[in-house]
Structure formats: C-alpha cells, structure tokens
Symmetry: C2
Subunit: 135 residues, 2 copies
DNA sequence: CAACGGTTTGACGTTAACGTAAGCTCGTGA
DNA sequence: TCACGAGCTTACGTTAACGTCAAACCGTTG
C-alpha cells in the first residue's frame, strides 16, 4: 500500500497523500467525514484517485485562504455541478464568492503596502527632526 | 455615554464602536482581554480614542484576511514598535508576513481566475461534441 | 509464528473566538 | 424614587477542525 512497488499512476493510499501535502491522515479522514472527499474502498481501506487528490489540493488552498470547510465544500460543489443544472443558482454563488475574494484581495493589497512602508521606515536610519539621509 | 450629546471628536463608548463596525461589545472586550486593545478607563467604564479605533480597523481587516487574533496581535506590534529597537527582528517578521501574504494573494488570483472560468462555462450554452457557439 | 507497519472505527481532548446568561453598579428621566 | 438602559465582571456554553489515544484487523517479513 506504500505505492512504491504497486507503481500505480492513479491510486493513492491515505498515507501517500498525507505525506505529499504535509497533513495528517486524521485530517484527510475528517474531510471525508465532512463530505469533501469520497475515496473508494477496497474492503475497509480507502483508495484515492487523481480526482480526490485534485480536490484535496483545492481544499488546502481554500484553507490557506482562510475559508471554513463548510465554505470549501460549497466551493467544491461549483466544480462538481458540471453546468448540468440550476445554473442560475450556481452563477449566483460564484458571483458572491468572487466579490468576497476580490474584497479580500483588496484587503491584502492594502496590508502588503502598509507592511512595505513599515519595512522602509524600519530600515531607514532614525531621522531626527529636519535632518536628511545622505546618499 | 451615547456620544450624541458629548459631541466629542475623540472619545468613543464601547457601544459606539460596536455599532460602527457591526460587532458585539463582547468581541471588543475580548480583544482587550487578549491585549489587542487597551482603552482608558473612567471608573470601570472603557473609553476609546482614535488610536484604539484605528487598531480595531486593523483587527477587523486582519480577521477578514483569515488571521488569528494571535497573528493580528503580532501584526499590530509592528505598528507599535516605531522603529525604536530590535529593528532586525522587526524587519524579519515583516518579511515573513509579506511572503505569506503574497502567497495568499497568488492563491487568491488563481481561485478568482478559476471561478471566472467556471462562470463562463456555466453561462455558455451546453456545447455538444464538436459544435461551436455562434457569435 | 510472531512481531511490525499501515489502516480502520470510535471516542474523548483541545484551542480559538466569541455567545449567552447571571448578578451588580451607575446615571438619568418620568 | 424607581425603573431603565448601558456598562462591568465572572463564568459556563458552543462550534470548528482537528489531535490523540485505544482496540482491533490485515499482510508480510524475519
């Protein structure tokens, strides 16, 4: 099950994914329990395919962005619904999320700019009153 | 204490700030307990100044960006330390945070792009095999 | 065959960020 | 004067996202 000698391009054990992404197997099982992943089973053992791996990548990115698993679940469903039905509702959700993300990006830009400013101030020698730094 | 008749430009009651930013007074007290705010007191009553209000704005932005109060606390300390001491350590922290935020921004760009793509696909009529959408 | 590593399902523990309720003080307007 | 609204502290409750055992089941390797 360590994938080394099975040489299979498309099948992953839970430990493979855990190691690859630096998370615990517990976390992966938790994501499954929450419906974010649905690996196949061979007996009782979970078997993950590329699709699950791809979803896991999206999950982790969502987490880096500060979203809850609930949010990420909704987000993943946008991928699942291959424009099959309830398109209006889907587009609505996407728009919502886009707006939220764009606002978040603005917050980020502002914060990054402020940090850069702080850095400049910190690096510059402590200017005293009307003095001027020499080139 | 409702600020209406005190007409003071620089003093805020806890309820003023709570209302202005749409959060609970409990949350504000919690931030104080965690050391993110340190309003003055008149008797037992908290009195906030512009400085506290400014910090609160930073706190809320940090939260929108998905940071923990612990993180935000560190972040606020970057503002406090007016390039007075331990500049290297300070710059180090700023660099760290900048890197993290820039990565987060990249994640955001990617996600936004993907959502836009999903939206296009959803809006476009369900293409069947080799057909082509008419202009 | 027995130990070992990997996997499974519980189930309880933990941390963060408040919510909520209780009980008390203080200033004020009818 | 007294009821009210606002504020305070203390303290227990709650949700999310796992961490951390515990107990048991393979498959294989020395």
């Amino acid at each position: 099950m360590t994938r080394q000698h099975t040489e299979n391009q498309d099948l992953f054990a839970i430990a493979d994914l855990a190691k690859e992404f630096g998370i615990s197997t517990r976390a992966i099982r938790f994501y499954e329990a929450k419906g974010l992943l649905s690996p196949e089973r061979v007996g009782a053992t979970r078997v993950f395919r590329r699709r699950d791996r791809a979803r896991l990548i999206l999950i982790l990115r969502g987490k880096r962005l500060g979203f809850s698993l609930r949010d990420i679940s909704d987000y993943l469903s946008l991928y699942d619904a291959d424009r099959s039905q309830q398109v209006h509702l889907l587009v609505g959700k996407v728009e919502e999320r886009l707006a939220s993300l764009e606002r978040q990006r603005d917050d980020l830009e502002t914060t990054i700019a402020e940090l850069r400013e702080i850095r400049e101030l910190a690096v510059a020698p402590p200017t005293r009153s009307r003095s001027q730094a020499a080139g």
